[in-house]
């Protein structure tokens, strides 16, 4: 006979959400943290000219807000995805390879922020966040979620669907943070890639459902993030701001609706 521990889920398959006889009232773990993503291609690959003013704005806000910085990948990630795709590697391998680049970027940002309390952290250090904030530090980590080799293949192509945008959103979600802030080099969401179509129309506020219904060929954030937003419990808004314009980050940290808000 099975040696079962008594309880409301004893014998449950855990493969269905049905028959879960528990009154679930989720707790927000650290709702006041500001979860921010520093774009890889959009900010970090621009070097000093873009990175220094962005970090300056963040440092100025660090005693007022708890800042968790997550870094994107950028052109080196594109390069390795490109070579690995040519070698017909599985998506999980691409995800593992792509993980190295945002970690490098996080280390770079940590070095620059060291004298202001910048702290490089790995996924395994996540539970130490309360300590880092209590000490007045600015934790810096990769934006990539830890899926790596376990990333699901997409329905077409082999680029991992969950990359640094997804990781940032999921970080905000588990911390119980309402809004995840994405610092990029555009004023937010457009109807097409504004770098290639300068006349593309800006969208200031849109719901995730409407955005998915529009079925745009290109988006400013990873598609899975918009899908997650339709069923998240805590993180209900994505804010995409232009970090190249001074003052945007400060306004976003104060809760101002700059850029584009994609809401649940």
């Amino acid at each position: 006979m099975t040696k079962t521990i008594e309880g409301p889920l004893a014998g449950h398959t855990l493969t269905t959400q049905a028959d879960v006889p528990i009154d679930y009232q989720p707790v927000a773990l650290m709702p006041d943290v500001r979860v921010l993503k520093l774009g890889g291609q959009s900010i970090l690959d621009r070097g000093r000219k873009a990175v220094f003013p962005v970090l300056e704005e963040l440092v100025a806000a660090k005693d007022k807000h708890q800042l968790l910085l997550c870094c994107g990948g950028g052109t080196r990630a594109r390069h390795i995805y490109s070579i690995a795709s040519e070698l017909e590697m599985p998506t999980g391998v691409l995800a593992a390879l792509g993980g190295y680049v945002p970690r490098q970027n996080a280390r770079m940002v940590q070095m620059l922020l060291a004298r202001h309390g910048g702290l490089f952290m790995l996924h395994d250090d996540f539970e130490k966040l309360p300590l880092y904030f209590r000490l007045g530090c600015i934790p810096v980590m990769t934006g990539m979620p830890p899926f790596g080799y376990w990333e699901k293949p997409p329905d077409h192509g082999r680029i991992p669907p969950n990359r640094t945008d997804a990781g940032v959103f999921l970080t905000a979600e588990v911390l119980g943070v309402k809004r995840a802030i994405f610092i990029k080099d555009e004023d937010g969401l457009y109807e097409d890639d504004p770098k290639k179509h300068p006349g593309a129309k800006h969208i200031a506020r849109i719901s995730a459902g409407d955005l998915l219904a529009r079925n745009l060929p290109d988006l400013v954030v990873e598609r899975v993030v918009v899908e997650y937003l339709t069923r998240s419990r805590f993180c209900k808004e994505l804010q995409i701001i232009n970090g190249l314009k001074a003052g945007n980050i400060t306004r976003a940290l104060e809760g101002g609706d700059v850029g584009t808000i994609i809401h649940a």
Binding site: T2, G7, L14, A18, M89, G157, V174, D218, E222, R233
Partner: protein, 275 residues
């Protein structure tokens, strides 16, 4: 040689994905090709159920350990273990405390690790070993020297578990976790060892009239997906876009010899094929 390209304020490395939005469907489609490289195609993944085998203790575990020991050397195998009733207890307490889904996903792997240690203690003299996550690149060494690597099943999504559909339970469970390991390594088949004869149209433990499905295909199964499954739903939805796994078999580990026959390629239990 790749060149560095500047001129738009950013420094790019020349590549077919340079400057591109990796969200653009047209760009992502360009990375598609029919074929995909197989990393370790000759290996079989064997998943041992937590609730169905381990929680039964000695009477179920010892015979399975013996069959695994006999199969080692004849087949290149990786063994995955589930967590069972202690996982259910963890999830029940976690939900009652209101922990976020990602927090619950972070906790459950520990219960599987304990089962991996148990199985390894039993099988160490048959050359088993607990392989750490992501140590895939040591597999050629282990497999060529006739070792039997034991891994935990749950994928390392941890705090970053995506928001589930329709309820608070993490969606990426142990069966999915093993499936994706097999898939990324280019493996062709997975054998799940459970305490039922295979896949049924309903949960046979609750419905005595449930019908066994001895052989089916993924498209057929998707047309009539049973409500209560002995495998994670995510396994099937991921299989649709997968390229390597051709065969998922479910056998009854309580029947002596079934795992051995499945390893030899026999159609015991339920055989689900990709097409």
């Amino acid at each position: 040689m790749a060149k560095l390209v500047t001129g738009d304020g950013r420094t790019h490395i020349e590549s077919p994905l340079m400057r591109e939005s990796l969200v653009d469907r047209r760009v992502m489609g360009r990375t598609h090709s029919e074929h995909e490289y197989e990393i370790l195609p000759e290996v079989t993944l064997v998943g041992i159920g937590g609730q169905s085998i381990f929680d039964r203790g000695r009477e179920a575990i010892l015979p399975i350990a013996e069959e695994l020991g006999d199969g080692r050397g004849k087949h290149k195998m990786i063994v995955g273990v589930g967590g069972g009733t202690r996982v259910r207890h963890t999830v029940a307490i976690g939900l009652d405390l209101g922990l976020p889904t990602g927090g619950i996903a972070q906790l459950v792997g520990a219960m599987e690790e304990a089962n991996a240690i148990l199985l390894n203690a039993l099988m160490a003299k048959k050359r088993s070993m607990v392989m750490m996550r992501e140590h895939f690149w040591e597999l050629p060494l282990y497999l060529e020297s006739g070792m039997l690597p034991i891994v935990i099943s749950i994928p390392p999504y941890h705090f970053w578990e995506p928001p589930p559909e329709g309820g608070p339970l993490p969606m990426h469970g142990p069966d999915f976790g093993l499936f994706i390991v097999a898939e990324v390594l280019g493996m062709k088949r997975i054998i799940f060892v459970k305490d039922v004869d295979g896949l049924y149209d309903r949960d046979p433990k609750k419905h005595p009239d449930a019908k066994l499905i001895p052989r089916t295909t993924l498209p057929e199964l998707e047309k009539r997906m049973p409500q209560e499954l002995c495998l994670d739903l995510q396994l099937f939805s991921t299989w649709r876009d997968a390229r390597h796994v051709k065969r998922v078999q479910i056998v009854n580990g309580l029947r002596r010899g079934e795992l051995t026959r499945a390893l030899a390629g026999e159609d015991v239990g339920t055989v689900i094929t990709r097409d």
